[in-house]
């Protein structure tokens, strides 16, 4: 089962504080959408509103084409997974999975069948008789996912489900959630503040800040063509480099250097004036002028070997740039380097508004 989710003009208030004002979001059937943003950006509020756990002050929520703005959570055809798992601690895994169905008065045989199916799908069958306290964190979260699955919902909502797990389990479960989505093809809406989860899981990512969606697009677009400076800063580790300079004609002037913008895809015809050039660390090269780019003299100040790659911190003209270099590079702090920028893949932002140019 699957359904589209459409939010239009959504408004959420806490007393006099407006958390979300006039938000629109359209999610296709079977899509995996990640709501991403720093804490307090309204992503969990938005998820709770879709679930019906947060009252809506204005606007409309449609699930599968039907108006669900005022519907009870149970009538919305949703399943939800919580950060704290929210398992019923005194019940066995089996009871945890079956309780909602039993409460709804479903026939015993149907319940047993569905619990068995879900337990098999999530490899929980050996643990059915155990209490949650006797499970590991990853198993607990699988039970929480299972509890959402048995209800055969059309839309699954995940509220930071992996934040309480350690790094390795987080990776394992992330893969499991992705496989699960491929298998059941239900619509999934997933809240996280972790950009790796967002990039790897999402068909599309909605980057949020201050109750507003900054950009809603595929992970590739969000990473390579960020809509504004906030999205550019929030996505990517190490962070994008920002150089403050001026646009003049077809060039970007920075620290007396004239960087060629002829390969840059402007959204509108560029105007001369102050601007910010954003460069991903992988778009700064230490290869020198051989590839035709402009070479800048710099000094390496810090070397962070990561294994597959090495992050170099280099200083030039009073600015420190982050550079992603090959894992086998031999660099020492204090060493001189010549830098070249991959200008066609850079991002230019308006100096005042931060919007992409």
């Amino acid at each position: 089962m699957t359904a589209s989710v459409t939010l239009s003009g959504l408004r959420i208030e806490y007393g006099h504080h407006v958390a979300i004002d006039g938000l629109d979001l359209s999610i296709r059937e079977g899509e995996f959408v990640v709501l991403l943003g720093p804490s307090g950006c309204g992503k969990s509020t938005l998820l709770n509103a879709i679930a019906g756990l947060e009252p809506v002050a204005g606007g409309r929520i449609e699930i599968g084409g039907a108006d669900m703005t005022r519907a009870l959570p149970k009538d919305r055809g949703i399943g939800m997974v919580f950060q704290s798992y929210a398992l019923y601690p005194h019940m066995s895994v089996e009871r945890n999975l079956s309780f909602a169905l039993a409460s709804a008065g479903r026939p015993k045989r149907e319940i047993a069948q569905r619990v068995a199916d879900v337990a098999g799908m999530l490899q929980l069958t050996p643990y059915l008789k155990r209490k949650p306290a006797a499970l590991s964190g990853g198993q607990r979260q699988r039970v929480a996912i299972g509890r959402a699955l048995v209800r055969e919902a059309a839309v699954f909502l995940f509220d930071e489900p992996l934040s309480n797990l350690d790094a390795k389990l987080r990776n394992d479960l992330r893969v499991e959630i992705k496989k699960l989505h491929q298998r059941i093809a239900s619509t999934m809406i997933y809240v996280t503040h972790d950009q790796v989860e967002a990039m790897t899981l999402g068909d599309r990512i909605a980057v949020m800040k201050g109750g507003e969606i900054q950009q809603f697009d595929t992970p590739e677009e969000i990473y390579h063509r960020p809509a504004n400076r906030f999205v550019a800063e929030f996505m990517g580790a190490p962070m994008m480099n920002f150089l403050e300079g001026r646009i003049e004609g077809r060039s970007f002037l920075w620290q007396g250097q004239r960087l060629d913008l002829s390969g840059y895809g402007f959204r509108t015809a560029p105007q001369d004036g102050p601007a910010v050039l954003g460069l991903r660390p992988e778009h700064v090269h230490t290869t020198g002028p051989a590839d035709g780019g402009t070479a800048l003299a710099a000094q390496i100040t810090l070397v962070e070997p990561m294994g597959p790659e090495t992050v170099l911190w280099a200083e030039t003209g009073g600015e420190t740039l982050r550079i992603r270099a090959a894992g086998d590079i031999h660099a020492e702090p204090g060493q001189a380097a010549a830098l070249a920028f991959d200008m066609p893949r850079a991002a230019l932002f308006d100096a005042a508004t931060g919007e992409r140019l």
């Binding site: 709770n48 679930a51 019906g52 756990l53 009870l72 959570p73 149970k74 009538d75 949703i78 399943g79 939800m80 919580f82 950060q83 704290s84 798992y85 929210a86 019923y88 601690p89 005194h90 309780f99 909602a100 409460s103 709804a104 155990r130 209490k131 306290a133 006797a134 509890r147 209800r151």
Partner: protein, 301 residues
């Protein structure tokens, strides 16, 4: 080989001894010592002061043959059952009501807990007035014209112990409420959200998901209330005086009467020991079962 070989070894032994010594001394001499002393006296024919005239189990035979002891003991069981059930039910109901988010929760919480600040003597007196047919609730309701109304439990042989139960529940419910409310507030809010998404009604959520998680709070409440049941004395003295006759007598009052009023400390001692044995007979298996359960749970992990 000496026990205290080095300074380090001495420190290892002396510090815990110093810390635990006083409390062990109190346990040994004050609690166990007096229990043994009481047991010895119960085997004698002592009257006003203890004597060394051992008469075997004669006092126990006398005790078990006494109809007043039988009434006292039965009353303790009746009081215990209704007081425990009543205070737990009322206290939990109040806690759930406050947990639903009423306006002015702090005010209600204080009001409900207030009786606990009163002495049982005060509670007993207040309820004696309230249930006094001449000036309490009965007089008031009859004054409004319902002349057939009757509410005189402390003066009714069959109902006197329930008057004590009523006053006890009134006094103790607040504590249960506070404990249960603390427990309810400790429940993960996501449990409630999960239950709402699952479409489980509010009362089912309380009954099957929330209250079963409050086992610890429930156990604490039961222990606190049970202690009150064993030592219920002042409430009875203030409310009914054990009457009419001995209709609402309780073991503690029986013991006090024979100790100081009737100057038969041997019989009073026998009654004390009988009470102690009763308590042990209830709590020892209870604790044993709890320990077994705990071990089983740890084994499963």
């Amino acid at each position: 080989m000496t026990l205290f070989k080095t300074d380090g070894a001495r420190a290892r032994w002396s510090m815990p001894l110093l810390a635990l010594g006083p409390s062990w001394a109190i346990v040994l001499f004050c609690y166990l010592g007096t229990v043994i002393l009481t047991f010895r006296i119960s085997l004698t024919s002592s009257g006003m002061i203890p004597n060394g005239d051992y008469v075997g189990l004669a006092q126990y035979r006398k005790l078990l043959g006494s109809s007043r002891w039988e009434t006292s003991f039965g009353n303790m069981l009746t009081f215990g059952a209704f007081f425990l059930a009543g205070a737990l039910l009322v206290g939990t109901a109040l806690a759930v009501a406050l947990d639903r988010g009423v306006r002015g929760e702090a005010v209600f919480r204080t009001i409900f807990l207030y009786p606990q600040a009163l002495s049982f003597i005060v509670t007993g007196l207040v309820w004696q007035w309230l249930m006094n047919p001449a000036l309490g609730i009965q007089a008031a309701v009859q004054g409004w014209g319902w002349t057939g109304f009757s509410f005189d439990w402390p003066y009714d042989r069959g109902m006197a112990i329930y008057a004590v139960v009523l006053a006890g529940v009134w006094q103790a419910s607040g504590v249960v409420m506070v404990l249960m409310l603390a427990g309810l507030r400790g429940i993960d809010r996501d449990i409630w959200r999960a239950a709402r998404v699952d479409g489980i009604s509010t009362w089912r959520t309380y009954a099957f998901l929330v209250l079963p998680q409050l086992g610890g709070m429930l156990a604490t409440s039961v222990v606190l209330l049970s202690v009150g049941v064993i030592k219920v004395y002042d409430l009875v003295v203030a409310l009914t005086g054990g009457g009419p006759g001995t209709a609402s007598d309780v073991p503690a009052k029986f013991i006090m009467d024979y100790l100081f009023g009737r100057q038969n400390i041997a019989l009073a001692s026998a009654a004390s020991i009988a009470l102690l044995v009763t308590v042990l007979a209830v709590f020892v298996p209870f604790h044993y079962a709890a320990a077994l359960r705990r071990r089983a749970r740890e084994g499963a992990r």
